[in-house]
Amino acid sequence: MPVVVPLRQHVLPHGIPVSVACAAALAAVLVILALAAPLIAPYDPATQTLLARLRPPIGFLGADPRHWLGTDQLGRDMLTRCLYGLRLSLFLSLSGTVIGLFLGTALGVAAAMGGRVADALIMGLVDVKLALPFTLVALVVIAVAGSGISVLVVVLGIAYWAHFARLVRAELMALRSLPFVEAARAVGASRTRLAMVHMLPNIVSPVVVMTTLNFSNLILLESSLSFIGLGVQPPTATLGSMVGLGRDYMASAPWIVAEPALLIFSVSLAVMLLGDFLCDRFNVRLRDR
């Protein structure tokens, strides 16, 4: 049998791997860039300069020194549009995550505490949700309600509620028969009070892990929907729609798609690394592997 030695990772104090620290730093930079976009962006994201169309980024032949990352097919500054796109992408994914978190948690609590009928009903709905390719649901919603920021937020909000509902229900079920819950019930706490005061605070860490994982999934979902043209409508752009609309110019001006694509990749990479790390940290079973 091969000798199994623990994977020797480079770790910082507190046992944080260097890769995770880098991911955290990258995430922090991206968030700061997104928050500060209106302050640091050199131009307006919608201003077109048709005389300066399709300029490559600095360092390439024909670059315009005023546009560090080049310009797009309408002469808009790519750096500016990337910053605003990043801002909107993060905002949309975050809103969707928060909606999913509250919706799913509420349903999970209702399923665990609300009796058998509520449980069967909610978990049946969860089964249907998980068996369906979500893109199809998104297509129907968008076909009916049209595409726009508010519709997109709703779509992202209903994308992952089922995962939260199942997790919260399972965790609460496990807590229900523990002595401290029974004690609370014995002194007459209502079911709402039991759930809110005594049980939910005890399941914060798995919920936090799931929130992080879902945030990264929503970043992918939002950029995919925007990419196929079902997200926000021009001239407003998220990173995904910049890639989608820039596709026609891919042969002659690859930076138009490459820059937002690489930005999406780095956001996703940073968030996934952090999610993986949190998952390992809080989940003992996974950590021991």
Binding site: L132, T135, I228, L230, M272
Partner: protein, 309 residues
């Protein structure tokens, strides 16, 4: 016992399809009369009334709802608004292409994911194992359309090796298949690795080694079969995700498939086509899930027994 199991599953499918169908039905009628978003602006009242009668939208909702299901049961799915042909015809022209893409993806996923996962488990704690895991992580974290676009930039526009769109020959399959499978290879690899690590520390593996089997024999003959049970479950759970991914990848590579069709139906608000397409794909996904479930309980006696109780 198997009969009862199958019957229960079929009941569940029927229930699911009813829920999905009803959701689609009510969703398309939620925002007022669907005719208004289908017809050009400024249509005169008489034509509008005629169209409403033609599409059967003038009765009470309960009647429409009943009609919706009876028509479905009789195989009348309506006409596509853009092409004015039966939606079933339009839909089934596309299914072949999508099925081929999905099968190719499945083949690649299993062919790379399972051996990769075994190697990552066996090489645990060594630099090579770390490299495999790093690659898997990259595959996991890269959105499929970003990967597709980058592949097109490199292999179509820069190197001119591969075609960037269409589904004519074998070369057309390379990039779409790679793009779609990257995520699933990565996730299957991680599942296989974890399952394999669990198995490697079992007593029967030690016994096999003690009997003098080589390490390779121990892993392939005694380890793999046991590790595959959780892996098959994981694979079954991914069917819905796979179909979701295919919709996007088909758009990237202008693949003439169902996903591309449904995205266009959405952009043009072709409700009859979208309605039928969503129901048909949902039914197919649910059916595949059930098949995986049944196959799984046929393979693993423990599941069969647990279900029968």
């Amino acid at each position: 016992m198997m009969v009862r199991l199958v019957a229960r599953r079929i009941l569940r499918v029927a229930l699911m399809l009813w829920v999905i169908g009803s959701l689609v039905f009510f969703a398309t009628r939620l925002t007022g009369n669907p005719i208004d978003s289908l017809m050009p602006e400024g249509i005169d009242a008489a034509s509008r009334q005629a169209m409403i009668a033609y599409w059967g939208l003038d009765g009470p909702v309960s009647e429409q709802y009943l009609h919706f299901w009876t028509a479905l049961a009789h195989g009348q799915f309506g006409l596509g608004l853009q092409e004015r042909r039966p939606v079933a015809d339009i839909f089934f022209e596309r299914t072949g292409n999508s099925a081929l893409l999905l099968l190719a993806t499945l083949a690649v996923t299993v062919a790379i994911g399972v051996p990769g996962g075994i190697l990552a488990a066996v090489w645990r704690g060594r630099p090579r194992g770390g490299v495999v895991l790093l690659l898997a992580f990259l595959g996991y974290a890269t959105p499929n359309f970003v990967l597709g676009i980058l592949l097109i930039l490199i292999f179509s526009y820069r190197l001119h090796w591969l075609p960037s769109s269409g589904a004519a020959g074998l070369a057309h399959y390379v990039m779409p298949t790679l793009t779609l499978s990257a995520f699933f290879v990565a996730s299957l690899l991680r599942y296989t690795r974890n399952a394999m690590l669990d198995v490697l520390s079992q007593d029967y593996m030690r016994t096999a080694r003690a009997k003098g089997f080589t390490e390779r024999q121990t892993i392939l003959r005694h380890g793999l079969g046991n590790a595959m049970i959780p892996v098959i479950t994981a694979l079954g759970l991914q069917v819905a995700t796979l179909v979701s991914g295919a919709v996007v990848v088909e758009t990237v590579f202008a693949w003439h498939g169902v996903g591309d069709l449904l995205v266009n139906a959405t952009l043009h608000r072709d409700y009859p086509l979208l309605q039928f397409g969503v129901l048909a794909v949902a039914a197919a996904v649910v059916a595949v899930n059930i098949l995986v479930d049944l196959a799984y309980s046929a393979i693993d006696p423990r599941v069969r027994l647990a279900e029968a109780v």
